[in-house]
Amino acid sequence: MNNTIDFLYLASIIVFVFGLKGLAHPETARRGNLIAAGAMGAAILISIFAPMENGDNNYLWILGGMVVGSVIGLISAKKVAMTKMPEMVSLFNGLGGACAMLIGIVEFKNLDPITPMMSGAVFANLFALFIGSVSFTGSIIAWGKLNGSLRDTLKLPAPQVINLVTLLLIIGGSAWTMMQPELDMTLVFALLALSLFYGVAFVSPIGGGDMPVVISLLNSFTGIGATGAGLIYGNNVMIIGGILVGASGIILTVMMCKAMNRSLINVIIGGLGSGGSSSGSDREQVVKEVGLSDLAIQLKYASKVAIVPGYGLAVAQAQHICHEIEEALEEEGVEVKYAIHPVAGRMPGHMNVLLAESDVPYEKLMELEPANADFPTTDVVLVIGANDVVNPAAKEDSASPIYGMPILDVEQAKNVVVLKRGMSTGYAGVQNPLFFGDRTKMLFGDAKDSLNKLKDEIHHA
């Protein structure tokens, strides 16, 4: 009978692989997601009905948990605004980590007294506890940072030292626990506290510009946490499903780091501080403002316009009005394209999702390189709520914390208009010389508000 169950688990693992594979290609992504969901449903049913030697089954508790969790999950998924997607994914991820953590705690409590401490079982348990806790608190911090309830100023003194010491304490403590003659629950709870703290200390110093990378990394952690919990039960679907997510998450994380021209280590250790006050720019620090009607006319008589969206567009919920302006300009015979930086927003592909929501056609979205090749022939670039991804300091100023990150080189265009709420710095906390450039004009105000007025002006002009 056990063989049958293992075989069924194997079948659901294979379906998981197909689902994940489908998710990575545009034509099959939707189907891939449904296939993975189906595999999950099957794996859950198998685990519920697989025969077990001991235990009271307690099906009512299981059913209750499943119903409550599913209803909450479904409602939050339906209600969340597209602009809030990064926070949502981060929160979901933290809950998965919390589950791995809970399993780690309870399995220690229920540990068979004859289990030797120096064993794979205890190791797996410690591992699930550690990874689950880090993923839990780390995701909660990332969630708080993204929705603004935790200020970016939440910083610990000497974060690198604290992180390293905490990590060493956890590793040392785990080894110590395994060397004890019997289980010491005090040690387990101390390790739990340290792991929870490590999640906080790990994410806190990392700047908002790097949040996409962090979420992807934490996502990978939760996968590895599931593997750890799977090792406790020797359950293949958890072990392999978890490691698939862990490995693919790492790859996705590395791809995002590459887009910023930084190594993963650099993102984690050298969190973009507010330091690097490289104000040694020789440019004249004067900004020029543009009037709405001037801008409307300029846009209307342009032949080619590029829009560079950033996080500010998401915050102002301005994606729909942005699309309306694009349509209004197209009616006037202007060619309008969107230039999307790979790490614009707070999640990879964040801008793509937002613009898709407001029905912007796929062909209008340009990735980094084609966009940069296009700028010299572009008449007007509208930068809407983007900052660091268009900051020329990244290629000119070797003292800048974002030096080396590929940017959208909007200065190549004939005119640049930056829509911004004020002169505050971007998420990386770096001053942007673009704003003082010869070809740059600023339009201050809330993006949605400004765009609404701009649309009226375009119709009247």
Binding site: A29, V68, E367
Partner: protein, 107 residues
């Protein structure tokens, strides 16, 4: 010295199969993803996130193994199932919602 050798032999005999699976599955995970267009980064991350909710199976096994009057285990397991199911159901639903938008404009 001999006891050490024995210990390592025992360790390998017990854990080599699972280590093999872990290593190979990691490679599989990296290979599946390969090159993903930026558009799909968020849905892929969110979908993979839902899959990491397989940890719910652990909580199910935990509850099934427990005695009917072990309320601490049952309560913790119940909470675990709730949290992981939010991750699973919410994750797949949110991913589906995102991907629906891409489909809509392909018309």
């Amino acid at each position: 010295m001999d006891t050490n050798v024995l210990f390592i032999e025992l360790f390998l005999a017990q854990y080599l199969p699972i280590i093999t699976i872990l290593v190979l599955a990691s490679f599989l995970g990296m290979e599946i993803i390969g090159k993903v267009p930026t558009v799909l980064h968020t849905p892929l991350m969110s979908g993979a996130n839902a899959i990491s909710g397989v940890v719910v199976i652990g909580a199910i096994i935990l509850i099934r193994n427990a005695a009917a009057d072990d309320y601490l285990t049952l309560g913790m397991g119940f909470l675990g199932i709730c949290l992981a199911m939010i991750n699973v159901v919410g994750g797949f639903a949110v991913t589906n919602r995102m991907l629906d938008m891409f489909k809509k404009k392909n018309k």
